[in-house]
Symmetry: C2
Subunit: 355 residues, 2 copies
C-alpha cells in the first residue's frame, strides 16, 4: 500500500524568513512599506468590524511571550511574538514572531509566515500612517532615539509616507548609530549622529523613541520637548517598560491604538485610568480631530495592535501569488472521509516499508 | 554577494502530518497513547506550576477558532484549534490543529507540529487517564456513543490504559459505526454494533459520549444511566454544545479539568455557577477522592485543556531525536548582530541574482 498523498486542503502556504526577504527585494522595501501602510489604514477605517482583545501575555522574569488574535468576521489572524530585551546581549533577537491567517468559515489556516521581519515593517508603517495624520504639515526632520533593530524601518517609512528627509540619531551605544548610518547610506536621507538625546531633538518636528529596556527608563524629559512636536513613542510596550517622563504626557494630546491594551502596556500605564486619549482609528476615519494647532504636542503611544499584524498578513497573502516565494506545508490532516482520521493514520505506510 | 545562510537558531523543527503518522507507526499507536498518558499524568501532578487561562476563542456562526496557551515557567506551549461541526458535510475535518513549544528564557520557538492527529491522541489519553482513576475497578465494557473521528482513539486508549476489551457502538449514522468496526478489526477488542443508544449502554461500565453537534443535543438520558457507571463526556466542549440531560449531572459526581473553562464550555454550562465539581489534578495527585463507592456515578466533563496539549507536545519533542521525522523550518530571523535586522534584509541577495 502506498502512503496517501495529502490533499490540496492539507497544505498551508508558508513564507520563510528567506522568502520574506526575497519578497521585500522583489517589491522594493519602500513600496512594501507604502503597501502595508495602505492596508493598515484600510483596516483602521473598518475598525468596528474587528474582534478585539488585549493580547494574551505570558510574562517571565526574562521577557514575555504573547499571542495577538483578531478577526474581521471573514478572516482570522494571529501573531506569536516574544519580547526579551536581554536577548540582544546573548546574540539573539529581542523580538521574534510568526503569524497565521485562517478562513473563519472553515477554521482552516490559509497562510503561515515568519513575522520577525514583517513586524518591523508593520510597526514602521503604523508609525508613519499615524504621523501622516498628526505630525506638523511640513515635518522634514526626525530625531531617532534608540538605533536598534527597528530604527531603519521607522526611518524609511517616515521618509516614504511623511516626507522626512533628515534624521538626527542618538543611542546610548554609538555602535548602534554607526550601524544605522551604514545601513541607510545612499537611501536618500541626511544623517546626523548626535552625542546626546538633547542634541538629537534639536530642530526635529518628529521625535521617535524606540529603545528596548524593560525598565521605566526616561529617554525623553519634559524640557526636551518644544511646542509643535509629534512624538512617536514606540519603545514603551509592556508593563514596567516606558520611555517618557510623565510630565510630557500631561502637556501632550495622546493618541492610541486600542485603549484597553495601551492602558496596560503603553506610556499611559503610569497615568490615572481615566487619562484622556484619542483612538487613532477615529482620527484616520475623520470622526475625531488629529492635530489642531501648530504649537500642539501630539503623542502616539504606540504598542502595536493585532489588527496591524492582520493588515500585514493580508498584504503578504495578496502579494504571494505567482512569486513562488513560499513552500507548501503539510500542516493539516485531511482524510478523504473527514470522520476517518484513524483510518488515514492506519493506512500511512511507514517510510521504511516504501522501499 | 551570496545570500546569508540562516544560523542554527533560525530553524524550528516542524513535524508534518505525514511525519506524525510515521512517528505513530514507528512507536506503535498503543505505546504512543501510553506515553502521552504518562506525560499528561505527570503534568497534572505539577498543576500548580502552570500558567492557566481559559482558551481565547473567536466564535462565528459556523464554528470557533481557539488559542490555548500555557507555560510551566521553563517551556511555553500553545495550540491553534478550530471546531466547525458543519465541516464534515463539506468533506473537511471538524477539528484541525497545530501547536508550538517555545523556550521561556529566550522566547524562541523550539517545536512546531501538526496537532490534528496529535489532539486525537491526547484527548483519548486524557480520557483514559481520568477513567483509570474514576471507572469501576473491573470495567471491561465501554459504550461508545458517537463513532466519528475521535472514537477509535478513545477505544484504543481505554483498552491500553484501563483494560477495556468490549465496545458497544452507536451512532445516528450507521456508516460511522461500520467505519469504526473496520478500523478496529484485529486490534483485540470485541465490537457490538447497536441500533440505539439505549441498547449501547446495556452492560457497560464506562459510557463515552463523543458527538459533534453544536446544539444542546441530548444523547444520554437520565434513565439510561444506572448505578456504578463512569461517564466520559467529551463531546460537549463549547457554549451551546452539550450532550447530557441535566438530571444526570445532579445524580453524578462531576470531575473537570479547569473549572473556569469547563463552566463556560462543558456539560456544567447548564448548571448554576456554584455547581460542585472536583478538579482532576487533585484526584490524580491523591489530594481528593475519586470513586468512593461501587454505586456512585462518576462523570468526567472533559473539554480539553491547554496543559494536555503541552504534555503531548513535550512527548513529541522528546521522541523526535534521531528519527529524522521532522523538517527544519526557516521561521526565525536571526541576524549575526541582533540589532541589525535591516542589514540582514539588505544583504539577502534576490534569488534571480544568484544564477
Amino acid at each position: 500500500m502506498s502512503a496517501p498523498t495529502p490533499s490540496e486542503r492539507a497544505y498551508v502556504p508558508f513564507v520563510s524568513v528567506d522568502n520574506m526577504m526575497q519578497l521585500i527585494h522583489r517589491i522594493g522595501i519602500e513600496d512594501m512599506l507604502s503597501g502595508i501602510a495602505a492596508y493598515i489604514e484600510e483596516d483602521f477605517k473598518r475598525w468596528e468590524l474587528f474582534d478585539k482583545t488585549p493580547r494574551v501575555a505570558a510574562h517571565s522574569t526574562e521577557g514575555v511571550i504573547e499571542l495577538m488574535p483578531t478577526s474581521d468576521g471573514t478572516t482570522y489572524g494571529f501573531k506569536y511574538v516574544n519580547g526579551h530585551p536581554k536577548n540582544t546581549k546573548e546574540g539573539l533577537q529581542t523580538v521574534t514572531a510568526f503569524g497565521l491567517l485562517a478562513d473563519v468559515y472553515t477554521g482552516y489556516p490559509v497562510l503561515l509566515t515568519e513575522m520577525t521581519v514583517l513586524t518591523a515593517l508593520r510597526t514602521a508603517a503604523t508609525s508613519a500612517v499615524v504621523a501622516k495624520h498628526l505630525a506638523p504639515a511640513n515635518a522634514r526632520t526626525m530625531a531617532m532615539i534608540g538605533n536598534g533593530a527597528q530604527s531603519e524601518f521607522q526611518a524609511l517609512a517616515m521618509k516614504v509616507i511623511c516626507g522626512i528627509d533628515t534624521l538626527r540619531l542618538y543611542d546610548t551605544d554609538p555602535a548602534a548609530t554607526a550601524k544605522l548610518m551604514r545601513n541607510l547610506q545612499g537611501l536618500g536621507m541626511t544623517l546626523h549622529p548626535c552625542k546626546t538625546a538633547e542634541e538629537a531633538v534639536q530642530g526635529a518636528q518628529i521625535i521617535t523613541t524606540c529603545t528596548a529596556d524593560k525598565q521605566n527608563a526616561t529617554v525623553l524629559n519634559d524640557n526636551m520637548v518644544g511646542a509643535g512636536i509629534h512624538i512617536n513613542a514606540i519603545g514603551g510596550d509592556c508593563p514596567g517598560k516606558t520611555e517618557l517622563q510623565a510630565d510630557i504626557l500631561k502637556r501632550a494630546d495622546v493618541f492610541v491604538e486600542y485603549p484597553p491594551q495601551t492602558r496596560i502596556e503603553g506610556e499611559i500605564q503610569n497615568m490615572p485610568e481615566d487619562f484622556p486619549v484619542t483612538e487613532m482609528w477615529k482620527v484616520i476615519r475623520g470622526d475625531e480631530k488629529g492635530r489642531t494647532s501648530d504649537c500642539q504636542i501630539t503623542l502616539f503611544d504606540g504598542v502595536g495592535f493585532a489588527t496591524e499584524d492582520f493588515s500585514a498578513l493580508r498584504y503578504i497573502r495578496d502579494q504571494l501569488e505567482g512569486t513562488g516565494l513560499f513552500q507548501q506545508l503539510d500542516l493539516l490532516a485531511d482524510p478523504d472521509d473527514p470522520r476517518d482520521l484513524f483510518g488515514m493514520v492506519l493506512r500511512a505506510t511507514p517510510v521504511a516499508d516504501q522501499a
